[in-house]
């Protein structure tokens, strides 16, 4: 399973949707994921990929980790994985 597929599976589970209902353009808000859901998704992603995501719920916009949509989340995870391997 690719990074994208895994992320979509995690987000779909959080949003109580089928993976097919989640696209890379989807925003968390459009999927009905609130701040608690976001923190839970980040936890699930960290566990899945064994990475540490720099995210503080007090200043999500200041974080280097872009959560504006599913594509940006996937890009952020790929960068973190690459950073860990490098």
């Amino acid at each position: 399973m690719s990074v994208q597929d895994k992320v979509i599976r995690i987000i779909a589970e959080q949003a109580l949707l089928e993976p097919s209902d989640v696209s890379v353009e989807s925003t968390l808000e459009s999927l009905g994921i609130d701040s608690l859901g976001l923190v839970e998704s980040i936890f699930a992603i960290e566990e899945e990929f064994d990475i540490s995501i720099p995210f503080n719920a007090n200043e999500p916009q200041k974080s280097d980790f872009d959560i504006s949509n599913v594509a940006s989340i996937i890009a952020g995870i790929e960068a973190l994985i690459a950073g860990q391997q490098g």
Binding site: S35, L36, F43, N56, A57, N58
Partner: protein, 402 residues
């Protein structure tokens, strides 16, 4: 209904081990937050906290007591000794039979839990100390206070997360106000600064890694503290007849529940508690000169709290002072309202308003007079202390100068 006054106060927290030194630290705007010292701290993402320093329980309690007192009970007893000594009360006969102790606490004996989980899970031991349960139970502190001071009336522990001690003090007030008890020992304590406690908070991603900056635009979360604040609430005539020194009058309180979200605060719920406290205390908006804010330093709390104060006070919100002393002593969770009540007493008695330290950048969504960085001299005759807990449980207490 009977009037209720405070005739004793005690504390131990990251700023100091007693009330006079704590008030001095608050007046100086000193910060009790620093690098955490605990086993495995390198495995924590959040490595700062407001720990009680220079604390030697072995010099204060004997071996048998130490085997029964978790850190939160130790803190409670130290603060209770100071409070009861200041009140000058000793409890016997009818007074003992009717007086009790109601304390706030959220996590109970977290250090005891942490140490014993470590020993059975990590070290693989199959046997624990026989007193683990009586040591970690949330009511252990209240029970030990009852035993040490011979308080035989209504006694129990209240748990409502960050509002625990305000709920407890409101309950104690109610007991004295309604004539059930002539004296109640009340307040709260917390000791969650152990590896498991900080790890749990870390998970929520609301903790700051550098400082607690309530109301400042660049704030990035809360910082945990530990300690206790204990008070003697006494029926006014009882205190007057014996010539006790009165620190302040407990004028009233209100509680409300948001019934909305398990972590996100609600402006309406907070505003209802604030307005309710004013009504219960028969205070007009313009009577209140100072509010000790809940002021956790999280984005969610600070904006909501300022909006709630603006709602409840209308134009008067711009004239009062509101500060968060959590910037100095950290967030004591179930004990926080009790330590913060000390700042309220200082405002009424000494005319010193404790500052919100660590303040760097104005936030248009927190545009109240938050007494930035330096204490201020001001005469105030009535104050409020806010507490808004996870779970949407709110409790606001009103004090008046007497």
């Amino acid at each position: 209904m009977k009037r209720v006054v405070i005739t004793g106060a005690g504390t131990i927290n990251a700023l100091a081990h007693n009330v006079p030194d704590t008030l001095k630290a608050m007046a100086e705007g000193r910060c009790g937050i620093g690098a955490l010292v605990m086993p495995d701290v390198e495995r924590l993402a959040v490595q700062i906290g407001a720990q009680v320093q220079g604390f030697e329980p072995e010099s204060l309690f004997n071996r048998q007591q130490l085997s029964l007192y978790d850190r939160f009970t130790q803190f409670t007893l130290i603060a209770a000794r100071e409070a009861v000594a200041q009140s000058g009360l000793s409890f016997s006969g009818e007074l003992a039979a009717r007086s009790g102790v109601v304390l706030g606490n959220s996590g109970g004996g977290m250090t005891t839990l942490d140490e014993n989980y470590r020993s059975v899970y990590e070290e693989g031991k199959n046997r624990v100390h026989p007193f683990v349960v009586p040591k970690l139970m949330n009511n252990a502190a209240a029970s030990h206070v009852s035993m040490e001071f011979n308080l035989k009336g209504p006694s129990f522990t209240v748990a409502s997360a960050c509002a625990s001690s305000n709920h407890a003090m409101a309950q104690a007030f109610q007991m004295v106000h309604g004539g059930i008890a002539p004296v109640m020992v009340t307040g709260g304590s917390e000791s969650m600064l152990c590896f498991g406690g900080v790890k749990a908070w870390e998970g929520l991603r609301v903790m700051s890694k550098d400082a607690c900056r309530p109301f400042s635009a660049n704030r990035n979360g809360m910082v945990q503290g530990e300690g206790a604040g204990i008070f003697v609430f006494e029926e006014y005539e009882h205190a007057r007849v014996r010539g006790a020194e009165i620190l302040a009058e407990v004028a009233g309180f209100a509680m409300s529940s948001d019934a909305a979200d398990i972590v996100m605060p609600s402006k309406q719920g907070a505003a209802r508690a604030i307005s309710g406290a004013l009504r219960d205390a028969k205070l007009n908006r313009e009577d209140v000169g100072y509010i000790n804010a809940h002021g956790t330093g999280t984005a969610a709390n600070d904006k909501t709290e300022c909006a709630a104060v603006a709602d409840a006070f209308g134009a008067q919100a711009d004239k009062l002072m509101i500060s968060s002393t959590k910037s100095m002593h950290g967030h004591l969770i179930g004990g926080t309202g009790a330590v913060e009540l000390l700042a309220c007493i200082m405002a009424l008695r000494d005319g010193i308003i404790a500052p919100t330290i660590g303040y760097e950048e104005p936030d248009p969504e927190c545009a109240l007079d938050i007494v930035p960085n330096e204490a201020r001299e001001a005469k105030v005759s009535a104050v409020l202390s806010n507490a808004f807990a996870f779970g949407g449980l709110n409790a606001v207490i009103a004090l008046r100068k007497l």
